[in-house]
């Protein structure tokens, strides 16, 4: 009996200790909810979304925002979404691919609530989707890497072999080869989104193989630290990662989600919102480059600026033909550009990439 009492006291204490607080803001006129897959301080994906949330708070005094962080993907996320609705949210952003099915499912129950799902493809009358053309910024970061490399070997720490990652590697490589046709991009798959030790080891293995610029796709800044320690350059991702590697960090392709969030909120406030698929690029400012490190020369900056203007004005497309794959096969013929469908389903490496895409 005494043992049981002791035990229950202990268990209760442990439960009390481990219950995390949900963060939310005060009541307001239009309440907007965000569901995040990671912690807001991850310096990566979720951090970038949260910057967007803060941006709309400053833009619209009539809007209050609420967020739930570190929400697991899959069925459990439905409860998080319903929790936000119970708190009075009329607009909900679900910011990870894995929230797709639960977003659709919950949306059926609440036809008056506007849902926006990031990076997915399922839509409904009250569910829109949004994403950014990150490949444009990747292309520009490739120009920086291509001009800064001395060994003509550039390393890329790749996450998982899905089209989004492959598209990023290809766009980066096309940028590299635009300014430096002799350079090659060497890919090592870490098969992780978030394992700092493995990602650092992957970067080290590329540096040992002679790469003197390291790019990455994961959310952890570990590859940046590896570059800094070994005295080579690096290119971050998601947000400005220069704080982790001030001597190595050249720039980073970054997200500015606030621009999409502002557009959606504005159309909801105006009553003009309807379900659509937003896939915006640099012309709208949704993607861009982080500030350059001091080691980046004026010449490089000028070259980047030149291509940035061409892309923004629509005169140049990173995936404009001829695009040749590793085997020499023409994937996009001269005079054509890759269609959105081709971009979204990309499953080949372009010429200039050294490495293989693991077969399923």
């Amino acid at each position: 009996m005494r043992r049981a009492v002791w035990l229950s006291i202990l268990v209760l204490t442990l439960i009390a200790c481990s219950i995390g607080g949900f963060s939310f803001a005060a009541q307001g006129k239009l309440k907007v909810g965000f569901v995040y897959v990671g912690p807001v301080g991850d310096a990566g994906w979720t951090y970038a979304h949260d910057q967007g949330r803060k941006y709309i708070e400053t833009k619209f005094p009539n809007v209050e925002t609420v967020y739930l962080e570190s929400v697991p993907e899959g069925a459990e996320s439905a409860r998080a979404i319903e929790h936000l609705i119970a708190m009075g949210c009329k607009v909900i952003f679900t910011t990870s691919y894995g929230f797709m099915d639960s977003t659709i499912e919950v949306a059926k129950k609440y036809p008056d609530v506007v849902f926006m799902h990031c990076s997915g493809y399922k839509r409904a009358k009250n569910v829109g989707t949004y994403f950014g053309r990150m490949y444009e910024a990747r292309f520009l970061s490739g120009i920086v890497a291509g001009m800064m490399t001395k060994s003509n070997k550039i390393g890329y720490v790749a996450a998982h072999p899905i089209p989004e990652v492959i598209r990023g590697i290809n766009a980066f490589t096309l940028g590299v080869r635009k300014v430096n046709p002799k350079a090659t991009v060497h890919v090592v798959w870490s098969n992780t989104w978030y394992d700092p030790a493995t990602e650092k080891e992957a970067a080290l293995s590329l540096i040992e193989a002679g790469c003197d610029v390291i790019a990455q796709h994961q959310d952890s800044p570990a590859p940046q630290q590896a570059a800094q320690e070994k005295g080579v350059y690096s290119i971050g991702y998601n947000s400005d990662m220069s704080a982790f590697a001030p001597k190595a960090h050249l720039t980073a392709p970054v997200w500015n989600w606030g621009i999409i969030y502002e557009y959606v909120i504005k159309s909801v406030l105006d009553g003009t919102w309807q379900s659509e698929d937003i896939w915006w690029g640099m012309n709208k400012g949704v993607v861009g480059l982080a500030p350059f490190g001091p080691m980046v020369s004026e010449e490089v900056k000028k070259e980047v600026e030149k291509y940035k203007e061409l892309i923004v004005s629509g005169k140049f497309h990173p995936f404009g033909g001829p695009i040749v794959d590793q085997e020499g096969k023409i994937r996009v013929p001269e005079g054509k550009v890759a269609t959105d469908k081709e971009l979204l389903e990309m499953s080949y490496f372009v010429d200039g990439v050294v490495g293989k895409i693991p077969k399923k």
Partner: protein, 306 residues
Amino acid sequence: MLEAIFMAAIRAGTPLLYATLGEIFAERSGVLNLGLEGLMLAGALMGFVVSHITSSAWLGVLGALLIGGVLSLVYAFLTITMRVNQVVAGLALTMLGAGLSGYYGQAFIGKTASQFSPIYIPFFSDIPFIGKVLFSHDPLVYLSYVLVPLSWFYIFKTRWGMNLRAVGEDPKTADTVGISVFKIRYLYVILGGMLTAVGGAYLSLAYTSMWIENMTAGRGWIAVALVIFSAWNPLRALLASYFFGGVASLQLRIQAMGVAISSHLLMMLPYALTIVVLSLISSEAMRKRIGAPTALMKPYSREERE
């Protein structure tokens, strides 16, 4: 190239080695602790936080030792005094460590802390090949070089080690000759937890210098398997840890060299081996043969007769 692979094997194997060493002590006393993952995460966070505040990586290690000790004290209380099922309590400890570190660690993501860097050892570091492979590391690696033979000597060659093994083999007999089973089990579960937490701190203070939620990425579970791999022997634990670290780093280097081989296949190897070993030892006869502590997972009580 070969130098680099061996160096990486030691680097990647060291966090596993600390956790494996810790668990060997706990299991030798007859207590299975499946909470290694949680202990490592708690150690990684605590080590980072203390180092961040005090700018001393060594104080960070002290912090990791402390949190590892406290959490395993709770675990020891549950499993030794309360005689809760060790598997269930271990899983709970893993979840507790992951949850607590995730929650309290949020404020420390993106912060910097004082970290361990490689230290040059006169003479030893100058030996060709061996000097580079073994003696171009940080102090925590050197410390593990000392701890491994010391632990082996302690467990197999000293009186205290004999008492420890006696409690893990046959607590009843040990008790009758005047060894305190409870004291010994508490002692080594706590010691084991402390070492395991240092393994976690190695990730946030030496391997990388950052704290990120769930940064152990399953290493605690690998360590549980490594204990069996090493047949509860610290010397073999060293080999097993370096082997695992080596395979993980080797596959990255094979990719970096541009060799066309599926990274998934190589990545799978250590895990496949783990499954094989775990299935092998699931039979009682096999466990006896490789030297598993006979009283492992069996709570002890003076009153109960078998």
